[in-house]
């Protein structure tokens, strides 16, 4: 209950979040460095895909993070929209650039893997690829709203509505490979269909997922702290202008 209280009050949040922000960021960097070393130097080539399967180690976890971060943002946006919690909208806003970055990594690494494996960089008729691209645009749109609205209150509400609308895309992305004919292979999570047979697959997916997750946690907390500082600065400046 204390932890919940700390993460709903900006003052308490600032008091407790610093070690978590830097700790998770450091942990994430260390795990990703370890993952890159394991992926490039230790993991053997796949018997079907050859060394190209190594691209999956960075691609698949980034696709999971893309969905996870958007779902997390949706939860924060819902809390912000219904209860008008300032820390919830700070949280959603801080997640967005990180989610956009992971979506970019997912799209680009998938495209690079697709060239040698499918013979194409991009396939516009593929529902999985296009729905993830739409999710990327939702992230960018969300960030754009925060930059164009006149007040924080208006921006928070408009951004929360956009985020909640975009959540419709989450099940579409997940089930797109089952609902429609897709070049993209079936879901890797909780199934073992159509993916690399590399014995290092799951340990590598787990390593990169943990690294990405720790980075997401650390960087979100850092960005939340920066946003709280920014809002305090703006409040002080407004007070200065009002009272001289």
């Amino acid at each position: 209950m204390d932890a919940l209280s700390a993460f709903s009050n900006p003052h308490k949040f600032m008091a407790v979040s610093k070690p978590f922000a830097w700790g998770f960021t450091g942990l994430g960097i260390a795990i990703v460095i370890w993952g890159v070393y394991q992926g490039l130097y230790v993991a053997p080539a796949d018997y079907q895909q050859g060394d190209a399967a190594k691209i999956m180690f960075v691609h698949v976890p980034s696709s999971w993070l893309t969905l996870f971060i958007y779902a997390f943002m949706t939860g924060a946006s819902f809390i912000s929209f219904v209860w008008r919690s300032p820390l919830a909208d700070i949280c959603a806003k801080s997640c967005a650039p990180i989610g956009a970055a992971f979506t970019f990594v997912c799209l680009v690494t998938g495209s690079i893997w697709g060239r040698p494996m499918w013979g194409t960089w991009w396939e516009w008729t593929d529902p999985r690829i296009v729905s993830v691209l739409i999710m990327f645009f939702f992230y960018l749109g969300y960030l754009a709203i925060w930059n164009v609205m006149e007040t924080q209150q208006k921006a928070a509400r408009a951004a929360a509505i956009l985020c909640l609308v975009g959540a419709i895309n989450l099940p579409i992305i997940h089930y797109s490979v089952e609902w429609w004919n897709s070049l993209h292979q079936a879901s890797s999570f909780l199934s073992d269909k159509s993916t690399t047979s590399n014995a290092y697959k799951w340990p590598m997916y787990l390593t990169f997922s943990l690294g990405y997750l720790a980075l997401f946690g650390g960087l979100t907390l850092l960005n939340m702290r920066a946003e709280v500082y920014k809002r305090r600065t703006e409040a002080l400046m407004q007070r200065k202008m009002a009272f001289g």
């Binding site: 691209i55 850092l222 600065t233 200065k240």
Partner: protein, 56 residues
């Protein structure tokens, strides 16, 4: 000291390179952002601080 990835080396290095560049960029951006925000707030708070007792 790069590993010998015979067939798909350009694809693998591009994918890892872009992923690492984006992650490093995110970390640098976040660290610079918080430092800048903290510095700005500290400067404003220092300017707002009441004068010390007896300084008049």
């Amino acid at each position: 000291m790069l590993p010998e990835l015979v067939k798909y080396a350009p694809y693998i290095y591009s994918a890892y390179g872009i992923a690492i560049a984006v992650l490093v960029g995110m970390v640098i951006w976040s660290v610079l952002r918080i430092r800048h925000a903290k510095k700005k707030l500290d400067a404003l708070e220092a300017a707002e601080a009441p004068p010390k007792a007896g300084s008049q």
